[in-house]
Every structure is written in structure tokens, then in C-alpha cells.
């Protein structure tokens, strides 16, 4: 079987990862700026379907002019042309905003309008959810760190968590760069990525440990690690592949909310698979060497 020299080329992988993370964050977070959905900012979102020809975002925007402050009208992507998304900031009384939007629509298109979805999040709730979302990600990282530290020797735990942070950062960076909006389902997807992407890493680490027991005396550590990655390579790729199949189906057919969710998983699982082959074990090697030298 063909053997790849993953460990020997690890500095290229580090370079690639750093470029990906720094590049996507600079572009996504600094240049483009992250976008937050109303889950986190508070606000009003109304989705409507209007059964009338010649209605576009412009005519709808005109309708709310002077009545709803800061209103934003967009086409619902990927749906029929007569579906629109009306957004407004929370302001002082978001309930009133919702009421006005409902009234105006009813008055103008009586019987020809279907209000498909209304979401109103008060500003305090938005702030709460933002804090909770960040805390959730931190808790998940800590929880997994504790588990990994308990299951493996410290050198592995260090590598696993670094790989995990790598995955979370890269996924978030790519997500921001394509201009998608953070929402609760997106945070849920990020947490799933954190829980899932460590799987592949664990598979590789398990193999390294197994090989270390028999081979440590006869082979250098680097070689054992590289062998282990190669031995588990098809597992790593195929397990990710089956999950990617279903995530791709979700991405293509799921629509709306699910689409963002699936996008995060798609990116996250890909990045996770890459990192468990190229990064996670490489860090263990460097850490191992560093510790040896110290002694």
C-alpha cells in the first residue's frame, strides 16, 4: 500500500492552516465584518409570500416607508420570486413593529398575502442568547478537553484541543467570509462540529497508542505517527465521507434555516478531517520532540 509522508510535510500543513485561519478571519471578520441574525441582535423578521404579479422588494420597501424605521426587504433566496423577507431592528417596541407590518400587509394585499413566518426577538433576549452561545462553545470545548485529558496522555490531549480550536476557528472564518449570518442553528452546528471533528482525531490517536506499545523501541516516534495516520487513512476519509453525503443532501434539499446549518457542517467536517490527518498528530510529534529536548 502506498504510504504518504504526512509528518514530513507538516510545516506545509501548518502554513496552510495558518493562512486559512488568518486569511478567513481578516477577510470575514475585519474587512467584511461578521453578520449576526436577529437571534443575537434582537429585531423583527417577517417572511411573506405575495400572490400578486409585479411586486418586488422596491414596492414593498415603499409600503413601509415612514411606518417602520430601518426596514429592509430582501428576496428569500432560492425560493419563488414572490417570497420576501422583511427585517427591522428591535427599536423601542418590537411588538408594535410586528403589529404594523402585519397590518400594512393585510391592508394592501388582503387575501393575497400569506405571512409565513414572524420572528421577534427583544433586545435583552438577543444579548442573552449571544452570551449563552459563546458560553456554550466554551463549555463544549472544556468538556471535551476534560474527557480527552482523562482518556489520553497529556501530549495527546494538547494536540486534540489545538486541532479542535483549529477546526472551530477555520469553520467560523470561512462562514464569515462567505457572508452568512450567525444564528442559533449555526451555533448548534458549530457545537456539533466540535463534538464530531474530534472523532477522526481520536481514531488516529488510538492507533498511535496501539503502535507505540509494540514499536517504540524499534522505530522513531515520527515514523510511528506517520504509519498510524496511513493505517487509519481510509477509515478517516470514509467515515467523513458518509457523513458528508447526508450533510450535502441537507444542504441541497433542506432549505432556509437548515441550509446555513448544513453549510457549517459541510465546512466543519471537511476541515475536521483535514486537521485530523495533517495537524492533530503533527502537533503531537512536535510537542513530543519539544518535551524530549527540555529533558
Amino acid at each position: 500500500m502506498k504510504k504518504f509522508d504526512f509528518i514530513g510535510k507538516r510545516y506545509w500543513a501548518y502554513l496552510f492552516s495558518l493562512t486559512l485561519i488568518i486569511g478567513s478571519w481578516v477577510y470575514g471578520a475585519l474587512i467584511k465584518g461578521p453578520k449576526f441574525g436577529i437571534d443575537f441582535t434582537g429585531g423583527v423578521l417577517v417572511e411573506v409570500r405575495v400572490e400578486e404579479p409585479r411586486i418586488n422588494t422596491g414596492t414593498l420597501r415603499e409600503l413601509f416607508k415612514g411606518k417602520v424605521e430601518g426596514v429592509l426587504v430582501q428576496n428569500v433566496e432560492g425560493e419563488g420570486k414572490n417570497e420576501f423577507m422583511i427585517k427591522a431592528p428591535a427599536g423601542k417596541d418590537p411588538n408594535k413593529t410586528v403589529e404594523i407590518i402585519r397590518e400594512v400587509l393585510k391592508e394592501k394585499f388582503d387575501g393575497k398575502v400569506e405571512i409565513r413566518k414572524v420572528e421577534m426577538i427583544g433586545p435583552t433576549v438577543g444579548r442573552e442568547l449571544r452570551e449563552k452561545g459563546i458560553m456554550a462553545i466554551i463549555y463544549a470545548l472544556i468538556g471535551i478537553l476534560i474527557y480527552v485529558a482523562w482518556r489520553f496522555e497529556p501530549i495527546f490531549a494538547f494536540g486534540a484541543v489545538l486541532a479542535l480550536i483549529h477546526d472551530a476557528l477555520a469553520t467560523t472564518g470561512v462562514f464569515m467570509s462567505v457572508g452568512r449570518e450567525f444564528s442559533l442553528p449555526v451555533i448548534a452546528a458549530l457545537l456539533t462540529v466540535i463534538g464530531y471533528s474530534i472523532n477522526d482525531t481520536i481514531v488516529v490517536y488510538d492507533r498511535i497508542r496501539e503502535n507505540m506499545k509494540v514499536l517504540l523501541r524499534s522505530k522513531p516516534f515520527e515514523e510511528i505517527v506517520n504509519d498510524s495516520i496511513n493505517q487509519t487513512l481510509s477509515r478517516t476519509v470514509i467515515t467523513s465521507l458518509t457523513t458528508l453525503f447526508v450533510v450535502l443532501c441537507l444542504y441541497l434539499f433542506g432549505g432556509g434555516v437548515i441550509n446555513d446549518f448544513a453549510f457549517v457542517l459541510l465546512v466543519g467536517i471537511t476541515v475536521g478531517t483535514y486537521s485530523s490527518i495533517f495537524i492533530a498528530s503533527a502537533i503531537v510529534v512536535d510537542w513530543y520532540k519539544y518535551v524530549k529536548k527540555e529533558k
Binding site: I198, T239, L250, L252, G254, I258
Partner: protein, 556 residues
């Protein structure tokens, strides 16, 4: 091999049992799938506590006055009362007087001639709990009256209430009925005023020469402006009492000022009438037995009410002695109408105002259900129309079927007969997961569907790990039987690790998530558990059977 027979029997029994549940019992659908309105209400307990403190302050002032204790000042700050007496010699007496009635409610500290009353944390939390329970009960009554099928009304945290109304047609109306405080009071009218100037003058204040105070309607209530030399300047005042005091007027302790809205034909507020009222109500909505929509003499919508017998006694007593005076009917601190008492009124009365028919009907509902103990604010709403929910389900099913088919094809092609066995286990996983959700009464939400589909993809992970291991063992030259054994035993630890980390993430999600996201966390966790059973145990049973009876067709 007897063991294997029992295992097979067990697998078949679990499968049939799960299938039976799937086909006979419906699954709970979340509001995002079946359509409806989800509301989160915040009870303004602080406002209620401040009101209680105000009442206590008035009572304490009255008591001190009765006992001839001179008070320099007594003011409320939030839920704290600061009293300053004329001299320290009165302090001891005043403190013991206050302690008689308020030692439960306040921590009382005295220093020199100053007394500070701070609300006790124990009282506060007990009171918040009581308010929330009462609000919950009232809202439940109101929703019952609205006739919503299968509503969910539960407390969330210490001062929030979650309301779920499946399939509600007019969410705006439901929001209004739920959110109205509906505090009905009957109060004695001391005087009225048509303009702010008149009001200020009547209460002993003076508007500067050449200036007038005018009022303009706004959605948040009246706004006041002082006009001088053709220049308008807004007066920032929080209450009508403050406005009067700004111009040197004074509202007696036992009185208050409220307003009535004057509306035009379209129902828009165009002006206000001001009422100086006795603060203490003659009667409140608590004495109401029934309320129903009716019409007044001119045929306009109105609300008729019937008082309980005790209320009727108080009311007839009062009206008998006050014929010819005006009585204000006050709802949520707004005067609805102030009719002149023409004769003694008993148990029955009518509230007129400028209602639409719908408003009269909804007011009847909230009056019947009783007042909320504190104002509530709707801080979150999600309404999903029925067609969107249905489309989401259809899309989810489409994505799910596509995902399952692709994964199954891939497994069968890549792992041959072993792959087919994994496919069987996968189908069983779907059947089992659905059954677990039905049995546990878990709710399927839109993200939950995604979680369901995701576990399908993740479930075969375990099989991939096992099969790859078996392949490896076979390559090493082991025989079929021992390769299968080794594959399973060596893969088990890895599978466990992988699933536990995902479970940790799911547990965190469950903790922090709301409705739909919780649904995702639950589905994901259950999916992981059921897949451990199907992908490991069930697959093992089938593989063992194959190796035992038809080893010639085994391919991996």
C-alpha cells in the same frame, strides 16, 4: 451457538416492537413544523414590587401622622424607602411602629433621625414567585377563553412564561389578550380638566404669563409642550403629577391624575381629558363575577359586567350616597368613561368607551379571566404559518431519503455483503430512533430533522471503523472468524470515544438551547445511543450469522 439464536430473537423483537410504535403512535411535532405561535413573556416583577413599596410608603406616612411623629421627608427609591424625621427623639417610636406591620417585608435600619427600609431578599423572591404563579394562572384562564387547542403554558426561569399556541389564526389578537394587564378600578372623580393649563391651575399651580402648556397624542401616551412666543419646547415628565408639580401645583397624597383618550371616527387618539381622582378605588376587578360584550344606548359596542354579591353591596352603598357625582371607570390606569351616577347601582353595570366590537369581546375575556398581578412584556415571538411548517417537513423528508439512499448505496458498493448488513442496521436505526422519540414524548423540530438525518450519516461511522479493521486483520492473514472478532473488539473503544465526545456537545446544546435547538440536541443524543446499539450489536449478530452459515458469500 444457542447464544446467537437468542441475540437474533432479541434484535427481531426490538425491531418489531419499534416498528409497531412507529406505525401506531404519532410523534410530537414542534411549532416550527406544525405551525403556531411561540411567545416568551417577561413579567415586570420590579414594577409590581415598586408599587407595593409605594403603597407601604403611603401607609407608613399615614401611621406616622396619626401618632403625631413629624416627618421631614419620606421617599421611595426603587424598592427602598428613606425616611427623615424632624429629630432623633422620635426614631425609636417610629421604628417600632413600622416594625409592627412591615418587619416581614423590609429590613429596617435607623441612624440618628434617619430610617431606611430595604426590601428583604427573602420577601422579594417569595413575592416574585407568587406574582409569576398568579400571572401563569391568569394567562392560562385567558387562553382557555380564547379557545386554542392544546396550548402549552409554562414558567421559564423565575420571572418568565413560555406560551405555545399551535395553529392560532390571529396571533396579534392572542398577543393582545395575553399581554393586557386588565386592572379594572372604579374611582371617585374629584375634578376634571380639558387642557393641561386648566389642570395645573386647578391644582394650585401657575403657568407663566404669556405661555401655554399643550398636549399632543403619541403612541406611548400624551406628550406635553410649553409654547411661548410661538416657540414649542417639549416638557420631559414621567407622570401627570410631575407636570403639575413643575408649575408649582400639588396633588394631595390620596389623589392622582389619569386621562381619558378622545378618539376620532377612525379610532385614532386626537386629545385627552384629565381626571383628578381619589387614589383608593371604590371597587376593583377582583369583585367581578362575569363580563360579556353588549351595546350601549346608542348601539355602540360596550362591555356589561355582573358583580359578586359583596361587590354589589359595596357598589350600591356607594352609589346611593353619591347620586349626581361622577364615577370613573379605570382600566390599566386609563379612564374608559366617567358617567354621572343617576341612581343607585347594584350588581350590574356597563363599561362604555370607544370600543370596536372585537375590543369589547376581548375586554370581556380578560375581565372574566382576571387581572395580571404585574405588567408583562412579550420579549420573543415566533410564528410559523401552517404552509411553511408543512414545506419544512417535506423538505426534511426529501433530504432524509436522499441521504439514506446515498449512504446505503455507498456502503453496499464499498463493503459488499458486510455493507448490506450495515444497511440493514441503518434501517433499523431509523426505525428505532423514531420509536425512542415517540416513547419518550420528545418533540421533533426542524433542526431535529437535521439531527435525525445527521445521525444516519454518523451511525455508519461505527461500521466503517469495524469493517476497516476487519479488512486489516484479514490482510494480516487471519481467518474470517477471528478477523471479525478482532475487528469488533478493537474498534469498540474507538467508537465509544467518538460517540461520547459528540454526546458532550449535545448535552451542552441541550443546556443552552431553546425549543427547536433543544429538539436537535435530543434527536442527536438519542440517535447516537440507538446507533451504538444498531451499528455495533445488531451488525455483530448479523455478521456472526453470516460467518457461521454462509461464509462463502462474505465479502468486505
Amino acid at each position: 451457538m444457542k447464544n446467537l439464536k437468542w441475540k437474533l430473537l432479541f434484535v427481531v423483537a426490538v425491531f418489531l416492537g419499534a416498528l409497531y410504535l412507529d406505525l401506531t403512535k404519532p410523534i410530537n411535532l414542534g411549532l416550527d413544523l406544525k405551525g403556531g405561535t411561540h411567545l416568551v413573556l417577561q413579567i415586570d416583577t420590579e414594577k409590581a414590587l415598586e408599587d407595593e413599596t409605594s403603597t407601604a410608603l403611603r401607609e407608613i406616612k399615614r401611621r406616622l401622622e396619626e401618632e403625631n411623629i413629624p416627618v421631614v421627608s419620606a421617599v421611595r427609591k426603587g424598592t427602598e424607602i428613606d425616611i427623615e424625621l424632624l429629630s432623633p427623639e422620635y426614631t425609636e417610636k417610629a421604628v417600632s411602629l413600622i416594625k409592627d406591620d412591615y418587619s416581614q417585608m423590609f429590613n429596617i435600619t435607623a441612624k440618628g433621625k434617619k430610617i431606611v427600609l430595604k426590601m428583604k431578599p427573602s420577601y422579594r423572591s417569595k413575592e416574585i414567585d407568587r406574582l409569576a404563579e398568579q400571572a401563569l394562572e391568569t394567562i392560562r384562564n385567558r387562553i382557555d377563553q380564547l379557545g386554542v387547542a392544546e396550548p402549552v403554558i409554562v414558567r421559564n426561569g423565575k420571572d418568565r412564561i413560555i406560551v405555545e399556541l399551535p395553529g392560532v389564526k390571529n396571533p396579534e389578537r392572542a398577543k393582545k389578550v395575553i399581554g393586557k394587564v386588565a386592572n379594572l378600578e372604579f374611582k371617585e372623580v374629584v375634578d376634571t380638566a380639558r387642557t393641561p393649563d386648566e389642570l395645573i391651575t386647578k391644582l394650585g399651580g401657575t403657568v407663566p404669563e404669556g405661555a401655554t402648556v399643550i398636549v399632543k397624542p403619541s403612541p406611548s401616551g400624551p406628550k406635553f409642550f410649553i409654547v411661548k412666543n410661538g416657540k414649542e419646547e417639549e416638557l420631559k415628565v414621567k407622570s401627570l403629577e410631575e407636570l403639575v408639580e413643575k408649575f408649582g401645583g400639588h396633588v394631595p397624597e390620596d389623589q392622582q391624575i389619569l386621562y381619558e383618550e378622545i378618539k376620532n371616527k377612525e379610532g385614532r387618539t386626537v386629545g385627552y381629558t384629565f381626571f383628578i381622582l381619589k387614589r383608593e378605588p371604590i371597587l376593583t376587578g377582583a369583585y367581578l363575577k362575569d363580563a360579556y360584550p353588549s351595546q350601549d344606548e346608542t348601539g355602540m359596542p360596550a362591555v356589561s359586567f355582573v358583580l359578586k354579591s359583596e361587590g354589589a353591596r359595596i357598589f350600591s352603598n356607594y352609589t346611593k350616597n353619591h347620586i349626581g357625582t361622577r364615577l370613573a371607570i379605570v382600566l390599566d390606569n386609563k379612564v374608559q368613561s366617567a358617567p354621572v351616577i343617576r341612581s343607585e347601582i347594584g350588581a350590574r353595570g356597563q363599561i362604555t368607551g370607544q370600543f370596536t366590537y372585537q375590543e369589547a369581546r376581548d375586554l370581556s375575556i380578560v375581565l372574566r379571566a382576571g387581572a395580571l398581578p404585574a405588567p408583562v412584556k412579550i420579549i420573543e415571538e415566533t410564528t410559523v404559518g401552517p404552509s411553511l411548517g408543512k414545506e419544512s417537513v417535506e423538505k426534511g423528508i426529501k433530504a432524509g431519503i436522499a441521504g439514506i439512499v446515498i449512504v446505503m448505496l455507498f456502503m453496499a458498493l464499498y463493503y459488499k455483503t458486510a455493507g448490506v448488513i450495515a444497511d440493514l442496521a441503518l434501517l433499523m436505526n431509523v426505525v428505532l430512533l423514531w420509536a425512542m422519540m415517540v416513547v419518550l414524548g420528545a418533540t421533533l423540530t426542524l433542526p431535529g430533522i437535521a439531527g435525525f438525518i445527521l445521525t444516519v450519516g454518523m451511525a455508519v461511522d461505527a461500521n466503517v471503523i469495524i469493517f476497516e479493521r476487519i479488512r486489516e486483520e484479514l490482510r494480516k492473514g487471519r481467518n474470517l472468524f477471528s478477523a471479525v472478532e478482532a475487528g469488533f473488539s478493537r474498534a469498540w473503544g474507538t467508537i465509544l470515544d467518538a460517540n461520547i465526545t459528540t454526546l458532550i456537545a449535545a448535552a451542552v446544546l441541550f443546556q443552552f438551547g431553546t425549543g427547536p435547538i433543544k429538539g436537535f440536541a435530543v434527536t442527536l443524543s438519542l440517535g447516537i445511543l440507538s446507533s451504538m446499539f444498531t451499528a455495533v450489536f445488531v451488525t455483530k449478530v448479523f455478521l456472526d450469522l453470516l460467518v457461521k452459515f454462509k461464509p462463502q458469500i462474505f465479502r468486505v
